[in-house]
Symmetry: C2
Subunit: 355 residues, 2 copies
DNA sequence: TATTAGATTGAGAACGTTCTCAAGAATAAA
DNA sequence: TTTATTCTTGAGAACGTTCTCAATCTAATA
């Protein structure tokens, strides 16, 4: 009683389930039943409890709930950087879906750095996060050291991969149909008459390798030899890699008539190089890129558009499935893409039909 | 013993401080001392504990720590949408700073919706989050209902505002020097000879009002009458408001020689309208906007650049100050901006010197 | 009225930490 | 050797929930 009153004086004090129970004149078990909406409670008790809750403006302590119930109502999203367009659209979609289920989202930027990814996964473990959505930094060549494998393989925390796969770790994966979409995009360029198509992408990522595979098979199908010097690799961390590599391609391959950009981060800086050289699409060169953006519309760039919303939604849905049933069999979901044809691709300038 | 062994078999089981204590042959109090690095522990005990920790790959349960210590090592960032360039750059900076202090970041999108902001603040309270950084939806005219005021005023959770202020709630605020920067930007346009300068912005936000104030005072100083029909208001939620409003201004004010865009979200769609009308900057119209972006560089748009990194950094620093000392006096920090002059502003086309 | 089934309730253990307190061990001083 | 001082240690309470279990109460049936 004494304590209660001293609390009342401080309008900001937070109340516990015991305070509610005392005020309502019932036990905390009964309060728990009303709050948690389980068991059976008489109408009279329920009313008293709800009144007390309202009067004290009581909110249950999620931390205590988490400790007791082993569920923190939290999912973590681990990715390179929230600044990346693909990633922030993904986080947006994930948070939206999570909210619908009263879950919150912890954001973990790895800055495309292995150590930070490991550190985040450790934190996630100790935080008892309920589930993890991971766009891993792990690139195709690299092998996860044994001492960290458990962070990826533990059955305790449901985890799914989005976009990038980690070879050797079996997890659900949700991604665009990279190979097929890339095959079709390349075929489109070929159908316009292009035979020398330069490619810019961060080769180390599984996604890009899939896209390259589609590129190669389209060329092969058309009987065009694959010239690996037309494929240039962008370090993810390099600032304005697109600009440097576009310049390299343009300098070394004067016969190149189209550029195909596989990473969404690269396109802007490729355009900067074109601007610098006063080259226009599609007259001077054709350009096709992955991932849509306001820029793409403003510059009329033909684009393979990923349905990031859909990927995010599926990721959350699948994660919740796994949270309910951790034994659910692993599988990969491929989300369709859309080739949005604008005006950046034309017939090759050296071709009879070209300008 | 039995239990331990059955746990060992399941390689994924997580261990508790009791398991470590048992394996090390000490009490959990001693383990706690080693983990938490306080009190005094003999070298012998310390070694045994560390070995046990390593062997079991023990990580402390943050939830239990949180319940006991009343600190969850979490800060929440509440903002309109992570998709917004300003916001995602801010979150990026905040997460980076928070990581340095071993704090994690909970992301809360309000979708510029009042109810969602309230809901998030309630969740934040029940989650025992240690601190909140808020870009509120609350617009200048609106008053927070009494029943929700405590969510903003509670002394329990340190909270600071970024970018937007809420009139009537006294909190720390960190923002750009909106009025001064806007005054100078306008002055720059005036110095080029413009007298009819259209303005597009979401008037309801305190930031925009500050920027308008700077705009007006620059005009007044130059003896130019302020024509309020040149200032058009963009609903935040409207898709491509910039395009519609640019069209409106261009249609209704043929004498307008410059457009001044106050929201970063609007510029892209303003450009779309210019593109549609085949108008070029600076020849057909001058354009000046807030917030930098790849687009601005590609289109050579003169821009008031906000130092979002710095704002984020200061926000976290200040929040931690408040977490240590909640009584610390409230104040506002204004971060300087930079007017990056590119090529989108020229002399008015109807002027003697113009095209 | 006695009996039974079902509804309602509260006491108290458990979740995994932190941290106080008092006791025991080790060392230094007398 | 005894006494004082400092180190080192473990038992157990506390944080705020959830949830089991047994007890009580109600109403219906025989």
């Amino acid at each position: 009683m004494f304590e209660r009153e001293s609390r009342m004086e401080n309008g900001n004090q937070t109340y516990t389930i015991d305070d509610v129970a005392k005020l309502a004149g019932v036990s905390k078990a009964t309060v728990g039943r009303v709050i948690g909406n389980y068991g059976s409670v008489s109408e009279k008790s329920r009313k008293k409890v709800l009144e007390a809750v309202a009067q004290l403006d009581y909110v249950p302590n999620t931390i205590a709930q988490g400790l007791r119930s082993h569920s923190t109502k939290t999912i973590a999203v681990v990715l390179g950087s929230i600044k990346n367009d693909y990633c922030n659209a993904l986080v947006y979609a994930i948070e939206k879906e999570a909210m619908k289920r009263d879950y919150n989202v912890l954001i973990c930027n790895t800055h495309e750095n292995l150590d930070k990814e490991i550190k985040h996964l450790q934190t996630i473990r100790s935080r008892q996060v309920d589930g993890v959505i991971l766009i891993s930094v792990y690139t195709v060549g690299k092998v996860i050291p044994d001492r960290y494998r458990h962070l990826y393989e533990s059955q305790n925390i449901p985890m799914i991969f989005v976009d990038r796969n980690i070879i050797g770790i079996k997890k659900d994966l949700i991604q665009s149909n990279n190979e097929q979409a890339s095959y079709e995009a390349t075929k489109y360029l070929i159908s316009l008459g292009h035979r020398r198509i330069g490619v810019i992408g961060t080769v180390a990522y599984s996604t890009v390798q899939e896209r390259l595979k589609g590129y190669r098979s389209a060329l092969q199908e058309a009987g065009i030899p694959v010239d690996s010097s037309l494929i240039v690799d962008a370090e993810y961390s390099e600032n304005r890699a697109g600009q440097r590599l576009a310049a390299k391609l343009l300098d070394e391959h004067p016969d190149m008539t189209a550029m195909y950009v596989l990473n969404n981060t690269l396109c802007g800086s490729v355009l900067l190089e074109l601007k610098k050289r006063d080259m226009k699409t599609p007259d001077d060169i054709s350009l096709l890129t992955w991932d849509d953006d306001e820029i793409n519309e403003l510059f009329d760039i033909t684009t393979v558009v990923q349905r990031v919303d859909e990927i995010g939604k599926r990721a959350v849905n699948r994660l919740f499935e796994l949270m309910e049933n951790p034994q659910s069999p692993i599988y990969t979901q491929q989300v369709s893409t859309q080739l949005v044809i604008r005006k950046s691709c034309g017939t090759p300038r050296n071709e009879p039909g070209g300008g």
